[in-house]
Symmetry: C2
Subunit: 381 residues, 2 copies
């Protein structure tokens, strides 16, 4: 059985135990769910049905893309149903001859007005839309990477590290001097190394714009790597999976506050690493880093980290919210990214990708805070 078949197999078993006859997974604009790709190979824009009788039915929008990538027991073009999930669901129920009254799971992201329409259109079935159903099972399974996925992460990390080095060299040499230089270098360099592209729009923010958590716009023609703090947050996409790292370039002369921000960020990062282990509650680690920053009159204004995979932000979450129940497990791959921000002094963030093994965290990437000497001739203040 191939990888996709194995992944589906585990979910079929779960569905049988839970008495769910059919599950609808939808990947569409505004309702993205990479589970479709993870379960079928189809890279997006499709509806996938899992039938507890151990059959999958894929309805791809682009049938030509499906011929290249899709893997499913049955395939019907989604355009035959006017890309309506309601029509698609009716067809799937008929294709598998599923008897009325059976349980059908729809995505937990289904908007309430759409949920009402499912219930109305399929009043002869038991429509279930719940946070911890088969879709959560798929997301939780995706959070723990299999050996093939870990192999992909070793490769994309090596490429990412190579590009980190090349960017550092070029910033030192002055051939990367603007935010745009940095971002476009990465776009070209990652494709030279067989990546599909970047995993998200590269954020390159020079000292005047690094105060923002996510600079708006993501990069400009403005100076990068000049005196003060510059942030470069990027990810590379390789065989569908994205890395996610952040470098801070700290060019002398730095203010005392900027020096303190660097120290704080590095300490927060080391604190996080020291707490990461199989079985740890992700929320507790986020909370510990927040407490540490609070002691220095700062806050963790964004999540401490997040799983990475087919999307740049996946499970597990490291948010400090009471509803974050994620436990770290061996095989998870996630980004850890503490940062501190100041409207005048700029921002400092350090982010690396980590594979959690049974013996502890293995840092896959070499994101770091890079100190640069004052430029000659020194800038007149």
């Amino acid at each position: 059985m191939n990888t996709y078949g194995e992944r589906r197999g585990a979910l079929y078993d779960w569905m049988v135990r839970e008495n769910s006859a059919l599950a609808l997974f939808e990947d569409a604009e505004g309702r993205r769910d990479p589970a479709v790709s993870w379960l079928s190979g189809q890279p997006g824009d499709a509806v996938l049905f899992l039938y507890a009788g151990k059959k999958a039915l894929l309805m791809p929008w682009d049938i030509h893309i499906c011929e290249l990538y899709g893997e499913s027991d049955l395939v019907i073009p989604y355009t035959e149903f006017e890309r309506s999930p309601f029509k698609a669901l009716r067809a799937a129920l008929e294709a598998f001859k599923i008897p009325p009254g059976s349980r059908v799971e729809i995505p937990p992201t289904t908007a309430y007005p759409r949920f009402l329409r499912y219930v109305e259109d399929f009043s002869d079935f038991d429509i279930v839309c719940r946070s911890f159903g088969v879709h959560h099972e798929a997301a939780a399974a995706r959070a723990v990477k299999d050996p093939m996925e870990i192999g992909i992460y070793r490769t994309v990390s090596a490429i990412t590290n190579d590009i980190i080095e090349q960017v550092e060299e070029r910033v030192r040499a002055g051939s990367i001097a603007t935010e745009q230089d940095a971002a476009l270098f990465i776009e070209a360099a990652c494709r030279d190394r067989d990546c599909e592209g970047t995993g998200f729009e590269t954020i390159a923010a020079g000292p005047r714009r690094s105060f923002a958590i996510h600079a708006v716009p993501a990069y400009t023609k403005g100076a990068f790597g000049t005196a003060g703090l510059s942030i470069l947050d990027f990810g590379l996409k390789y065989r569908g999976y994205t890395s996610d790292v952040t470098l801070t370039f700290a060019r002398a002369p730095l203010s005392r506050t900027q020096e303190r921000m660097i120290t704080l960020t590095e300490k927060a990062y080391r604190l996080a690493l020291s707490l990461i282990r199989d079985g740890a509650a992700a929320r507790d680690i986020g909370a510990a880093v927040d407490r540490f920053l609070c002691g220095a009159k700062k806050r963790l204004v964004h999540g401490l980290g997040h799983g990475i995979g087919l999307e740049a932000h996946e499970f597990p979450l490291f948010s400090t919210g009471a509803d974050n129940e994620w436990t770290l497990r061996a095989g998870m791959v996630f980004a850890v990214e503490p940062g501190v921000y100041d409207s005048v002094q700029g921002g400092c963030r350090l982010e690396n990708d980590i594979l959690l093994t049974e013996s502890g965290p293995e840092v896959l990437t070499y994101g770091r805070i890079i100190r640069l000497p004052a430029q000659q001739p020194p800038a007149v203040p």
Copy 2:
């Protein structure tokens, strides 16, 4: 009153008529709603409350970005509520002293399990989640552009046209020879012309990959503009608004099928243009083009068009689904993009941005099918 205040004013009036005391707009990862930006200037990642007593409360994730762009009667950092919309809503109800029993509108995109939580946590209020509530009013208002927005579209269209010309020149001269050449040229050129960047990831697909509606990956180091059909689909973002055009480069020698695909696409485009007028049902125009293509044994495998604005895909829709009730109105700006695809012959698409005026459609951009002579020495088949 400023632009944001005027936009909010129209919604307050609607809320008073509908007896809605408070409306929650949320722009967050996975739940994007540019209405937040349209109503407050905050470029994203925020919760915005509109209170029928004619006050707005903005809760931005990044307070530094808000200081630059946000405009609201009241501002409280979202981090004070752990970025929880439930906690934020409780605070808003208290800030405006809204009495129990009042009607509170939450986004129609709210997932059913989250809807249940709102209803449970706010059982003392009348929580309303509906397709055609205040959020739809905002989306419909955004679909008809005001004079300032139309001015922005004239500017971004001029920049887009300039870049179309430059790309054509470079493809003819051979300095754009790969998909990556085309995409990275656009990234740099648009920033040279004061754009924030591209409105979405540029799709550049040479003859071997143009068969896909949306090529995966979006661009590679592969050949572009060689014999056959190459598609270039891009948009530029200027002051928040995105253009969206598609060029097809048709390099000789072309097969008879490819010639026919070009003719079909151009005819479908002209047919669409001939039907666009104030008061027309967008669905009917999509259906007419689909019927035309069916007569040639093809189908319209994607929507004929879509509104453009703060997002690349906005209202009105041109889908042929029975639930598409959009009527075209003067002041709307939308993209029209018929295309035909073949797994062997490649794809052909033509897309332009159109401002609908009372006297008819005004085509703002010069997207077209560009014929190129055979390369010297001619490729040996």
